[in-house]
């Protein structure tokens, strides 16, 4: 037998990634902040609550419909911080560049990063650049880390979902993954699907300032909505029931998924959030999200149940019921 090796599956955001985290990473670094397993760590420094998050971007291709690796990297970290209920403030950028990358490509990437940061009102305050020999990286990899401030009395976490909560999604699912797929070499579709990459900090701030009770905020990126819902069901020890007819999927995205045998529930999003909100506040939060430029297609897609703890069920269009499991095996390589 060959020695156990890391496979691409370990980077899928699905089950293999989770077991790598819980079996290999968590035991070595164990601490209360990391153990929460939220999108970012929540830190208490001398009475101030901060959210701290990091993410690396290795998407292939680096330019795709609606964006590139640069704005994806900035928006991604802004969103991870926002999902902690925080207002993102400062971001660091690490660039690992492959020898031979055209300077004009780097310039475009950096320009879009600057625009994305400005739009979200965050500052890029520190960074690092490394260049590696040709073939040792693929054009450019970007790491972004960020810090945000959590307003007092805000307690948002994947472990806060409660039976009866309504689940809101801020718009159509699977746009980013399918945009990447359709622009990838060898798979040329005449589709007009663009990435949904967008900063969600303004939307999150509007939700939080409304005074509504918010239990969970999460952006269903790698692994898709299906995997994210499973994470929350496990973290909060609750069941989740999703109503298939209410799931928003664009026609072109649905069609591409059908053609290639993908399930949109497992395809990445880069500008969507899901909010778990008690029923009393659900309608108000829905309207706030719909009022944001990136949340116009927001809908309620399901609710939290007491039964079937840790599991996610889908009520299908034909009235059947099935389980939504975490993603197992990669659906698409290197989408973020």
């Amino acid at each position: 037998m060959t020695e156990e090796k890391i496979l691409l599956d370990h980077g899928s955001g699905g089950k293999a990634s989770h077991s790598m985290f819980s079996d290999l990473i968590l035991p070595l670094f164990e601490n209360p902040e990391l153990s929460k397993q939220d999108d970012g760590a929540i830190l208490n420094i001398e009475g101030t609550k901060l959210a701290f998050s990091t993410d690396s971007y290795v998407v292939d291709p680096i330019f795709f419909p609606g964006g590139n690796i640069g704005d994806l990297a900035v928006n991604g970290t802004i969103n991870d911080i926002s999902m902690c209920g925080a207002i993102p403030k400062f971001i660091s950028v690490g660039l690992i560049i492959e020898e031979g990358l055209p300077v004009k490509d780097l310039k475009i990437i950096l320009q879009t990063m600057a625009i994305a940061a400005k739009k979200a009102g965050v500052k890029i305050v520190t960074g690092d650049t490394k260049v590696v020999p040709k073939g040792k990286a693929d054009k450019i990899f970007i790491n972004t880390s960020g810090i945000g401030v959590i307003p007092p009395n805000i307690n948002v976490s994947g472990s806060n979902a409660e039976p009866g909560d309504k689940i809101i999604i801020s718009g159509t699912i699977a746009d980013h993954g399918i945009a990447i797929l359709s622009s990838r070499e060898g798979l040329k579709f005449d589709s007009k699907i663009k990435t949904d990459s967008a900063p969600l900090n303004t939307m999150v701030q509007s939700i939080i300032q409304s005074g509504c009770d918010i239990h969970v905020l999460r952006d269903p990126t790698r692994g898709g909505l299906g995997t994210t819902l499973n994470e929350i069901a496990l973290q909060s020890c609750v069941g989740i029931k999703i109503d298939e007819p209410s799931l928003p999927v664009r026609g072109a995205v649905q069609g591409t998924c059908e053609l290639l045998g993908f399930d949109p529930l497992y395809i990445a999003n880069e500008g969507k959030l899901i909010a778990f909100v008690p029923q009393k506040d659900a309608q108000k939060v829905l309207e706030i999200i719909q009022g944001d430029e990136f949340g116009r297609d927001a809908v309620i897609i399901g609710e939290v149940t007491e039964e079937t703890s840790g599991k996610v069920f889908l009520q299908t269009k034909i009235g059947g019921v099935r389980i939504i499991d975490m993603l197992t095996g990669e659906q698409l390589p290197r989408i973020c």
């Binding site: 060959t2 089950k15 059908e258 009235g319 059947g320 099935r322 389980i323 499991d325 197992t328 095996g329």
Partner: protein
């Protein structure tokens, strides 16, 4: 209004009406087999089992190309990946199927050049761009895929591509149905026949098997309404004891099938015996390159002739493919064998019944 051919066939009102009819018609306990892996997936995805009467059991048949690929063929794919200067091109699911000693995925992690493609034409592109390397395509498929592979071979000839070859583990559907009916212990009350395959073969391809075994058979599309309709027809045939061969997918399937596709398939390939996982050798159930196209045969080009290899110990994939066992009845299911650590191919392929059971139930 333009038909989108998706939403119309997932209509909840229509589905509920069909389910009501099914419950009304269903008296006998029946075991119905969906032959095609795409049906298996669709049945799970739409929660079809959960709306059927308790007496109706749906079994997954030998219709997932990855699942029926014999162990020795998987071993051959792995061996190709170990050769210097060879790029192995494969459909995604095959990459994780365990051979006797390794998988294509593990070989890739070791440094082998294994690339996932969506069709044979992607493999041809890779061959065009890598003239100094040999490109081997793992040809695994049924009547739906074989014509495209044939078209790829013809393209290879036209372009004088001498660094491209295929290892054919292609299979034909009707002989497998006949072999299934001849297997001891198999009890099936009706076939949900594959939609895509039938687009190529046409309804007539099943007539011989139907007439010999007199078994209710319905060709079905892949949307939930299509499948529920086929189940209703199979129940009605059984209740009336009037077996028939029906085409419930006439929007895509004709009696004669796709004549052009069949012509190109038969121009390049000839029918041969083939090894099926769990079933063994089925006469005249495979397709190999005709003599004049043998320079594209990777097995001949590289002298690749792997010995028969036993299937993994304890793995019930073979019996599951025959409808003799359900995944729950396999001792390895959800224990040693999961989608993360698959032992048999039915747990690997997204169309495999074990993977579908694991994921959706």
């Amino acid at each position: 209004m333009a038909l989108k051919y998706i939403e119309e066939y997932r209509n909840g009102t229509l589905a509920r009406a069909l389910v009501k009819k099914i419950h009304f018609a269903s008296k006998k306990k029946l075991r119905l087999m969906e032959v095609c892996g795409t049906h298996t997936m669709s049945i799970f995805r739409h929660g079809i089992r959960s709306v059927l009467p308790a007496g109706i059991t749906l079994l997954s048949g030998p219709g997932c190309p990855v699942c029926v690929t014999a162990q020795k063929d998987i071993d051959a794919f792995v061996e190709f990946a170990r050769l210097d200067n060879v790029i192995v091109t494969t459909f995604g699911d095959l990459i994780k199927v365990p051979g006797s000693s390794s998988t294509l995925g593990k070989e890739k992690a070791e440094g082998a050049d294994v690339r996932i493609v969506y069709s044979v034409f992607d493999a041809i592109n890779i061959a065009r761009e890598n003239k100094n390397k040999e490109v081997v395509f793992c040809a695994v498929g049924f009547e739906t895929t074989i014509p495209t592979i044939a078209a790829g071979i013809l393209m290879g000839i036209k372009e004088k591509l001498d660094n491209f070859s295929i290892y054919s583990a292609n299979k034909l559907t009707p002989p497998a149905l006949a072999a299934l009916m001849e297997t001891d212990g198999v009890k099936i009350d009706g076939f949900i026949l594959p939609g895509h395959v039938s687009v190529i073969t046409g309804t007539n391809a099943y007539r011989e098997t139907f007439e010999k075994y007199n078994i209710p058979s319905v060709i079905a599309g892949f949307e939930p309404i299509d499948i529920l309709h086929a189940v209703l027809l199979l129940i009605q045939q059984n209740e009336k004891e009037k077996p028939d061969l029906e085409n419930a997918y006439p929007r895509a399937v004709s009696d004669a099938g796709n004549i052009k596709a069949k012509k190109i398939m038969n121009k390049v390939f000839k029918v041969c015996n083939a090894s099926w996982r769990g079933i063994g050798e089925i006469p005249l159930s495979g397709m190999n390159l005709k003599k004049e196209y043998q320079k594209f045969d990777a097995a001949i080009k590289f002298g690749m002739d792997m010995p028969d290899a036993p299937e993994p110990k304890g793995c019930a994939c073979g019996k599951i493919l025959l409808g003799l066992k359900t995944p729950y009845e396999c001792a390895l299911y959800k224990k040693k064998c999961t989608p993360m650590t698959p032992v048999g191919p039915c747990m690997v392929s997204s169309e495999g019944s074990c993977a579908a059971f694991y994921r959706y139930s």
